[in-house]
Structure formats: C-alpha cells, structure tokens
Subunit: 302 residues, 2 copies
Amino acid sequence: MERLPPLNAIKAFEVAARAGSFTLAASELGVSSAAVSQQIRNLETWFGKQLFVRTGNRITLTDAGHAIYPQTARALGDIAAIGQRMLEGGLRTRLVVSVPFSLAELWLAPRLAALLDAFPHMAIDVRAEDDPIDLMRQNVDLRISYGDYHYPGLRMIRLVHDDVLPVCAPEFWHRHGNGDPGLTDLHESLFIHTNWGPNYASHPTWADWFAACGASRSPDPSHGRRVGLSSLAIASARLGLGIALGQRVMAQADLEAGRLIALSTVSVRLGHPYCAFMPPAKADRADVAALVGLLVKTAPAT
Amino acid sequence: MERLPPLNAIKAFEVAARAGSFTLAASELGVSSAAVSQQIRNLETWFGKQLFVRTGNRITLTDAGHAIYPQTARALGDIAAIGQRMLEGGLRTRLVVSVPFSLAELWLAPRLAALLDAFPHMAIDVRAEDDPIDLMRQNVDLRISYGDYHYPGLRMIRLVHDDVLPVCAPEFWHRHGNGDPGLTDLHESLFIHTNWGPNYASHPTWADWFAACGASRSPDPSHGRRVGLSSLAIASARLGLGIALGQRVMAQADLEAGRLIALSTVSVRLGHPYCAFMPPAKADRADVAALVGLLVKTAPAT
DNA sequence: CGACCGACCAAGAAAATCTTATGGAGCTTG
DNA sequence: CAAGCTCCATAAGATTTTCTTGGTCGGTCG
C-alpha cells in the first residue's frame, strides 16, 4: 500500500501549474523541459488521472489538476517555511564566517570593513582556522576554503582563482635589485619560500615561477627565508626581509599603497580557486547573501 | 538561491522522528537503515543544524528537530491527502476492471461473482480488451495482463502463473480415446490448436507439451482445429470438438463439474504469469484492494 | 504557407539513492 | 566486568531514478 505520491513530481507539478508551461517551469527548476514533462507524467500515472490537457504545444490544467493545485502549493509552501523557521530558530543573528589563517588578515578583513560600512549593525564573528572544519558542529554560517571540491550537500561558490607573483619592498629592491625582471642573478638567500603545509601540495613554488619564465633557475629552499603561511610571506616582504612569491589578492593593498612592488608581470596560477561553502538553507539569509555578494563582486575577473 | 529542502529527506526525517529510531523508520520506508541515516544527515547539512542528537546507539530530537517536526508531519499529511482527494474526485465509485478477452469469461467472471456475493452493492465495469491499453485515458482502475513486465510507474502484482494441459469432453474421450495418457496414437485431426496471436510468442503449443512428455510427436497445426483464443479452445473442447491444450485456470470449473477431463498430469507452464496493474494511488481504494485481494487469494499456490 | 515554439519521446548520461560490509559506542546479561 | 547485542556512522560500490540530448510532431503566428 503506497502512501505518498512522489514528492519531486509534486514539486514539478506545482511549478508547472503555476507557470502554465513546462518550459517555464523547467527554467524555474533549473532543469530541461523534458525532465518536467516526465515528472508530470510520472505523477499522472501515479494518480491514474490526467492533470494537464495537452493541446498541441500548450497545456492547461484539467479539473483534477485544478482541484489539487492549491493543496500542493500550500504543502510545499509549508515545507519551504520550515527552512526559514530553522534559520531564525536560534534567534542568533550573528554571522559566523570561517576562513583559513592565511586569508584572514589581508583578504577578508578589508572586505569585511567594506561590508560593515554598508551595514554598521551587522554582528560578525570571524574565525580563523584551517581545514578540515565541520560547519554544523561549529555553527559556522559561511566557510572560505582553498579548493573547489564539492562537499556533498553544501552549496559552493567560487570566489577567486588567485595567482602568485614576486614582490618585495621598494627599499629592498633599491638595495639588492639588479633591474632584471627575470631575477636570474639574485643571490639565493634573498628569496622567501612559503611552506604551504601538508594539505596544500598544489601550491606553486619558486621553481614553478622560474619555470613559467622559461628560466631553469630554482633557488634552493634550504637557503633564504622560509615562512609557514602565505600571508606571512607578504608581511615579510613588506618588511624588507626578501622577495616573496606572494598571492595577488593578499598583496593587492600593499602594492597599491606602494609598500610593495611587483618585480615581474609573470605570475603562476594557483591549482584551485578559493571558494565559499555554506549550508544551502543559509544561502537565503540576508547577511550571508550580502557577504557572499560582496566577496564575489570584489574578486578580480578571472 | 535554493528554496526547498530536499523533499525525500524531509520524508525520512518525519518518519524517523515519529519512530524515534532510524532502524524502525527504515523498515517503515522499506529501505536500509543506512539509507535513512544518510538522508537525515543530508537534511542536517542542508539546514546546517543538527536535528537529532546521537548518544551512542540511540537518537533523540534536538530542539531544532522538535521545532520543525509538526510542520513536516502536517505538510506531508496534506500531500498524502491529495492522493485521497484525487480518488474521490470524480464521485464515481464504479470500479473499472480491464482484462484480456481470453480471461474474461472463464477466469474473471466466476471470481467477480464471489466478490459480488460479499459486496452486493459494488458497481463494477468489466472491459474485455487486449493489450496495449492505456489505463489513464480509458479510466481503468485495474488491468489484468499477461506478462510481468514492470510498466514504469504502475504498481504490479503477480496473480497466477498458469500452465496448460490436455483436456477434452468425457464423451469425446469415450469415443476417440485409446487410454494412452501419452496421446501418441491419436489422429492429428483430433487436436485443437490455439493461435495466441502475434503478441504472445511465448505461449506453449502442442509441440511443447509432447516435448515435455518426452515424446517426439508434434501434431501438425495445419490439420485439426484451430482457434484464436485460449478460452475458445476450452469451450470447443467442452463441446466435444477435440482435445485442447487448455489453461488450467480456465478449465478448472469445467474439470470440477465433469464437463471436461484432464488427459494427463503432464502440464507446461506459460512463459509469464498473469499480473494485475494499477496506478499506485488506486491501490488504496477499498474496492480495488478487495478485488486484488480476492484474485490473489483464489490463485493456486505457485 | 512557412517558420517558430513548445510538448513528447527514446536512448544514453549523470546523479541521487540505496545496499553491503564494517566499525564503534552504549546497553544489557551472565 | 566482560561478552554479546543493538543501533547508528561510514565508505565504497551497485542500482535506480532523474536528467539531458537530439529528433519529431502538431499548432500558432507572422
């Protein structure tokens, strides 16, 4: 004894009945019109009754379809409302954002500043932590991570596909530079190497950058300075400690302010983009949407 | 911007919350407990909130789960009710049964008589028609067909896997018989051949029956009588026109009444069972359920 | 009358779902 | 207190559902 009609077919029916067209319904649902057609037919054979009359290329609700439409719309509306209630449930309007350590200061902070300009009363928690993290357990509304692996069930939005380029402080270049954009003759000890940690095997190194230049040089990481965080490489370069292979998004502000200079136009793309992850239900929250919108907008065109 | 939580996960949640156990919920849903576990987790990541607390091998609703349960139950109940309304919609309580020509008289009719004994006021339409038929267009509530091909979306119930055996009228055997259960010496013209029609290539013939006996004989269908309907073969045999390879379910009554005699205990199974098909929603109708129940009950154990 | 639009259909592709098998945590029992 | 049970979690692979693609047909509009 079957009990419940196929729920996704009910959903398709509700949209199609409202839209008055399978094609429109399809675009609302983000699928092809054939898919809607099939779902509707599925429901019709379940009931053993036609729900639409097909007159050539147009559809109209049958009496039976008319009879059940309001109920379907109401029931689905109720279910949609469940998601909303869930969001307000905790009566906590604090927005919790989690970012990797490296992005917190040089990338997220300035953007958050812009957001707070627009919404001065928004309560935001920023948590700096490295993967892996569990959104649910730690009550995180929005997580920024490196990599576009599609975690099952989480909504993902690509933010920026960054690249790295050699940067250093102007004084440093004044003192040590030789004017060669190929950086071929510089002493090995002048380079800052970033150790990305075990989780980030795909990050570019100085060897990658020189290879992109067509040079065979590859400064030995055992000489020179080494830092364990990409934002720290930028900071070190800014302080005149050497030439860093810095991520553009992190160096941007310093470059514009003249605290850093780019030593070449050659850059190497990172293996993956930075992405935002969130539980799908939270994508509807105004504050989450605002922040994601801002982050996407301020991303350089990829 | 996603809008609706995954509906099947909602369904799983409703059942699990009501049952208080994933395992029980799983058996109610007819799936494995792992499936329920996954669906629940799916919903939890969608909301970004736990719905159950897992304490070892036991589960309890969280506050959030408690908060949404009533809504889910109500919404799903509404959707289930849609199916019910659909059934009563036409205010027609007439039960429409469709059977192949061959089954109408000798198989369905006596069973319907039994049903009407029990429910004298039941209004029944019997339609005799061969495949293919379209349940929906022709407003058929229950279709009996040969073959257990699972039509997509229709509920199917196997009724009886019939076999054929040689039968004839007692007087006929008295006149022409030779006492040999192998029927080896009978003249070819005494056999009645059934032409099952183009759709039924798998039906057994006299050749199959003799092969089952281990005999090499195979009466030439160009001699003897030929009929185009299996029930007509039974009727012809009853009238003394020859020896038919009759289906047991059709000959049953005549055999018991002595109007036909079985000439052998050797029988050949049909290629497929007879099955009942119906739109899933109609399986809930009391009259449909009653008829199906009766048909299943009166089927000989297979 | 011809071009376009929208629904249908069938086949293959893609994705969601389920099963199986395994492991662990907490009861219950001897 | 340990052994055995039950029940949930998890991962990998299988299965089934769902979706897309490409093509056809009927109807409508210019």
